[in-house]
């Protein structure tokens, strides 16, 4: 229980560490301060594992603890009362797993970065940012107050912004950071509105209170739908769902460990996590649930198709992340809370693994382009092996972790709506295809760039150890968590929901067969030294390839919209300055000038003569007055005070 009671520390320790690293010591490529960050996150990892252990061994979940934060007076139903805003932690099943995922991946990534980022001019600052990100992410996970969650949500977005743009001297990362920030902000707008709506309706930001409010049926379906769609909006931005996923491929400009931590395992899962955290609102709104399911399926399919033609190793993984997040969303929408979160957990392991492997490769050959790789398996056997395991896991090879979670999602979705199942099954097949394409292009075949190949070497131990740990998790996590329905019982509580139409047993095997077939296809196309068949296919389907390569023109559409807004603003400005100003301002000006000329004549002849006299007088008086005030003489101060006093007395008297 003690671990649970100190759950709030998990978010605060990395925060303290980040400030310590940021402000302590001098910027130095060999600064020892990063070890502070690693130690802090190590501590958090131990705490999280302790919480997981407590949860498994039967601690009462959800565990909630609140402290009063600030209070303010307000009036409701014509009765004034003091509103007390709490700040606190809420640890439920999903939160436990999310804690372990975030701390574990962050821990491994920080160790990995020791080697990957070593010698960078801003080595220390990089670690401060990583710790800051971890702190905000953990805050998001544990907070029981949706307002605090939202604050952390924004901080996470901000950390992502500074980490994507970590190498801001180059224009691409700077642009990508801006794009990521603005795109997610677009989604956050919906989330913010949803939160305001919740507060107006429920009068609280506390998740348990909102849950109670909903479960007692006080929230109408329309309101729930509106709120759920708002939350989905935010989640779609952060978790890169269609059509807001355009930022994620570009976000790969950041350092690769950052991509592994933020854009594969943790931050992008925050959207899914938020939907899971507010699941009670979604279940009260069937339309929103359907939207979530279809949005997820659509995203999964679109992203998978785009991954097929991509040649940048990190972008393939980025598209794959988007696609897998789509899987999770779809599962949540199909009433499969357990399935979605299970996939979130396993995906975090193998996707972080794949990104770190990609980082290892990039570290060795200094390029992202798979066309310049090939044949690296001999040079980097450990990286090859771990990548192979990750690829098998994500493709859903039986008994690896991905197989368990993907199977669970597919079953769940099949029961909900067979049409969704078909889309996801196709996507799963495509996943296996593009992942093995990546594997073949990178590690097998002939070395296409002799020079780069010659310089490649296996990475040092700080990079390979995390790979091995994650590889082991990718293999065993699924089986471990599925053992005795452990995951399910923690997420949904001891009562297991009844399954109305259990999926037929051939379902899983048929998908596995399709996956196997697609692996064979990938081997045929990309396994050999030359890619004639692939080139031929590409020539034959050129328009389709072009469409996928241009990412369905979504980037162009969004930029077009931005451009349109820009043009509209310019047009409005033109109307304002050229039309309205010309008529109302300049026109008036002309009229006024005419009048002024007339009055000037009159002025000159009649009034000026008189004015000159009084003018001289007033200048003298005004100047004297000004110098009086500015002179700083005590007697004058006293006089002003006396005058002011008399005026006040008079006001009081004649009021």
């Amino acid at each position: 229980m003690t671990m649970l009671e100190h759950a709030y520390l998990i978010a605060l320790i990395p925060l303290a560490a980040s400030f310590l690293i940021l402000f302590g010591g001098k910027e130095d490529p060999h600064s020892p301060l990063p070890f502070v960050g690693i130690a802090a996150i190590g501590w958090c990892l131990v705490e999280s594992l302790g919480i997981l252990y407590a949860a498994i061994s039967g601690a009462a979940l959800p565990y909630a603890q609140d402290w009063s934060w600030f209070s303010f007076g307000m009036t409701a139903a014509n009765r004034p009362f003091v509103y007390d805003m709490p700040i606190g932690v809420l640890i439920d099943g999903p939160a436990v797993f999310m804690l372990v995922v975030v701390t574990l991946v962050s821990f491994l990534v920080q160790i990995y970065s020791l080697s990957y980022m070593h010698g960078d001019a801003r080595f220390k600052r990089y670690y401060a940012y990583l710790s800051f990100f971890t702190a905000s992410m953990l805050g998001l996970v544990v907070s029981s107050n949706l307002l605090v969650t939202f604050c952390c949500w924004e901080l996470v977005g901000f950390s992502s912004y500074i980490l994507i743009g970590f190498w801001f001297e180059r224009s691409e990362p700077a642009y990508a950071a801006k794009k990521a920030f603005l795109t997610t902000k677009l989604g956050d707008l919906g989330l913010y509105l949803a939160l305001l709506f919740i507060f107006v309706l429920v009068g609280s930001f506390q998740i348990p209170q909102i849950a109670q409010f909903v479960s007692r049926g006080y929230m109408s379906t329309a309101a729930a739908t509106l709120i759920a769609l708002g939350i989905l909006c935010g989640a779609a931005g952060k978790s890169a769902q269609a059509p807001l996923f355009i930022w994620l491929p570009d976000a790969m400009e950041g350092p690769t460990p950052v991509s592994a931590l933020i854009h594969a395992a943790t931050m992008v899962a925050a959207g899914v996590y938020l939907v899971a955290r507010c699941y009670f609102i979604f279940t009260a709104a069937p339309i929103a649930m359907e939207t979530v399911a279809w949005l997820g399926a659509l995203t999964a399919f679109l992203a998978a198709t785009m991954a097929i033609v991509c040649t940048d190793i990190k972008r393939v993984l980025a598209f794959s992340t988007v696609s897998q997040l789509g899987f999770m969303m779809c599962a949540l929408g199909a009433w499969g809370l357990t399935a979605g979160l299970f996939h979130l957990t396993t995906h975090a392991a193998f996707k972080a693994l794949l990104f770190l492997c990609a980082g290892s490769v990039i570290h060795a050959v200094h390029t992202n382009d798979m066309r310049q790789m090939g044949g690296l398996s001999k040079k980097m056997p450990l990286t090859f092996l771990t990548t192979f395991i990750g690829t098998c896991a994500i493709s859903g090879i039986p008994l690896l972790s991905g197989w368990y979670s993907k199977d669970m999602i597919l079953e769940r979705v099949y029961e909900h709506d067979p049409r969704l199942f078909i889309i996801l099954a196709i996507t799963a097949t495509l996943t296996a295809f593009y992942m093995f394409r990546l594997l073949f292009l990178t590690f097998l075949g002939t070395e296409r760039d002799k020079d780069k190949h010659a310089h490649a070497h296996e990475s040092p131990w700080p990079m390979t150890v995390p790979l091995v740990v994650l590889a082991l998790l990718s293999i065993f996590a699924g089986a471990l968590l599925d053992h005795h329905h452990l995951f399910e019982s923690l997420v949904t509580g001891p009562v297991s929901p009844e399954i109305p139409h259990p999926a037929p047993p051939w379902l899983g095997w048929s998908v596995t067969a399709a996956v196997a077939a697609s692996i064979v296809a990938a081997a045929k196309l990309y396994g050999g030294p030359h890619f004639e068949t692939a080139q031929r296919l590409k020539a034959a389907w050129a328009p389709l390839f072009h469409l996928l390569d241009r990412r369905y023109y979504l980037d162009d559409i969004f930029l077009g919209l931005v451009d349109l807004g820009d043009r509209a603003a310019r047009l409005a400005f033109w109307i304002d300055s050229e039309v309205i100003d010309a008529i109302f301002v300049d026109g008036w000006g002309a009229v006024a000038r005419l009048a002024a000329k007339l009055s000037h004549l009159f002025d000159d002849l009649c009034i000026d003569r008189t004015v000159d006299g009084t003018g001289g007088l007033s200048v003298t008086v005004g100047g004297a007055l000004r110098s009086l005030v500015a002179r700083g003489l005590a007697q004058e101060y006293l006089m002003y005070a006396a005058v002011g006093m008399s005026v006040l007395a008079a006001l009081t008297w004649f009021r």
Partner: protein, 496 residues
């Protein structure tokens, strides 16, 4: 019956002050820092005594004074300001070495005056306390005898003080005419229970204009020490001339104590609303903030700029006194506490920067390159003064403006509604104006290059301690104001 023991901290401090004056005669110059140390330690002890009784609901009353959580809170705040002033003195080099005992004694006496002020229930007693504060501050303000500006400020301060004392006494005599007593509050023993009543309230209708004038003059007499418009003219000159720690003290302690007195007198004992003085008070509040803020914009000397800023800050606090509702009372207490932290902080940084000899805006040029930490600290204090969340100043301002809105909502007639809404609106507009000149300092610190020969300001352990405490207060109460609010609520409830 006299209950003299209630005033034990004040008595001890006065005796100590006299002793310090005597010590001064025999103290060798090289030990000149000793009185300051003695001063802050004794103030700390007194503070401990006061804080220990902070939560006790009612402690009793003497013939001329009353000691309750409300007065204790203000005494604690005064003592805090005194302690800080002593610490600042320890690192201020322009004070003459030979008279440190006198200086410490005067500062302690001034503190005693302020502490008695918030306890007083008799106008004569109030007046004597006020004079004790005033006379010692006159001398403190002119303590740098070699500095002509210091002398000029002290003389002006003295003349203005004499003038306002006369007004106060005039008000006092009118009050005596109207009420037949100088007491604001009379205790009567009905059987076993004590009850309190206010003499003037019984015959409120009859006295009419005389009582009105009396209260107005008393208000203006208080206004002198709190630097309310139109009694503010002395402020910039005195602040500019006075030794830096004295400036810090003057900008905080008397102002806060007077706010306490005003709160007690004008919202509870002789409610301004009962006399129909609400509009006038509101006008004073509006004038005070607006004049302070608008003139501050044109200042190039940071001491003067902060002087005008402190005038404006008093205007904000007045809002709470005008509204006279519970939110307003809490707001005044809250803002007073917060104001001490942020204003003392800003003045402390100014003292550190001013060690190089100049208090002009240009002395802040490029402070961020010379000492990033100091520049950031100053920025925090300035942002808090401007009322930017999540710093403590925002919470305080929020409370005060919310009090005005609440009073407007609860007001009966539409004209008084408008008064309160106008207060809130003017307050917000003024906050916006103030951002301009606070940010001017920030601009100088962060965006201008440092002068060639300027170096990083040296900060000793005492300044560092003061800065750390102020910074912690401003940040902590901004992020987590609940403990402070709870304390203020306790103190405000027990206001008699």
């Amino acid at each position: 019956m006299f209950n003299l023991q209630l005033l034990a901290p004040e008595i001890v401090l006065s005796v100590l002050a006299l002793a310090l004056m005597a010590i001064d005669l025999i103290l060798p110059t090289r030990r000149s820092q000793l009185p300051y140390h003695l001063g802050w330690i004794s103030a700390l002890v007194a503070l401990a005594c006061v804080v220990a009784t902070l939560a006790t609901s009612s402690q009793g009353a003497g013939p001329l004074w009353i000691v309750d959580p409300f007065s204790q809170l203000f005494k604690a705040m005064t003592l805090l300001a005194v302690i800080v002033t002593f610490l600042l003195c320890l690192e201020y080099e322009d004070l003459s070495l030979s008279q440190s005992g006198t200086f410490a004694a005067l500062l302690l006496l001034s503190a005693v005056g302020l502490m008695l002020l918030v306890s007083a229930t008799d106008l004569l007693f109030l007046f004597v306390s006020l004079e004790l504060v005033a006379v010692s501050s006159f001398i403190l303000a002119g303590f740098e005898r070699r500095n002509r500006k210091s002398n000029e400020g002290a003389i002006k301060y003295f003349l203005f003080g004499a003038f306002s004392s006369a007004i106060f006494v005039y008000g006092l005599s009118l009050y005596y005419g109207a009420a037949g007593t100088t007491k604001l509050l009379i205790l009567s023993q009905n059987g076993s229970s004590l009850s309190l009543w206010t003499p003037v309230l019984t015959g409120l209708g009859r006295q009419g204009p005389v009582l009105l004038l009396a209260m107005l003059f008393l208000l203006l007499g208080f206004g002198f020490k709190a630097a309310m418009v139109p009694m503010h003219f002395w402020v910039p000159d005195v602040y500019e001339g006075a030794p830096m720690p004295v400036t810090t003290f003057l900008s905080v302690a008397p102002k806060i104590a007077i706010m306490g007195v005003l709160l007690r007198v004008f919202t509870l004992l002789v409610p301004a609303s009962g006399l129909g003085l609400t509009g006038l008070l509101a006008l004073l509040a509006i004038l005070t903030m607006t004049v302070g803020n608008t003139i501050a914009i044109f200042q190039d000397n940071v001491k003067r700029l902060l002087a005008y800023s402190s005038i404006a800050q008093a205007g904000y606090i007045l809002i709470g006194i005008v509204t006279a509702n519970s939110l307003g009372l809490e707001g005044v207490l809250l803002y007073s506490a917060v104001y001490i932290a942020m204003n003392v902080g800003a003045f402390t940084v100014l003292q550190a920067v001013g060690k190089n000899g100049s208090y002009e805006l240009s002395a802040f040029d490029g402070l961020s390159r010379r000492s990033m930490a100091l520049a950031l600290t100053m920025a925090v204090f300035l942002l808090s003064l401007a009322g930017i969340p999540p710093l403590a100043g925002f919470i305080g301002k929020f409370y005060l403006f919310a009090a005005a809105m609440e009073a407007g909502r609860a007001a009966a007639s539409s004209s008084s509604k408008n008064i309160f809404y106008a207060l809130a609106v003017v307050g917000v507009i003024n906050s916006v104006i103030s951002v301009y000149y606070y940010m001017k300092i920030v601009y100088h610190m962060f965006f201008l290059p440092p002068h060639e020969r300027s170096s990083a300001p040296a900060i000793g352990p005492y300044l560092l301690a003061v800065l750390a405490v102020c910074l912690a207060g401003v940040l902590a109460f901004g992020v987590w104001p609940e403990p402070l609010i709870a304390q203020m609520r306790i103190s405000a409830v027990h206001l008699p």
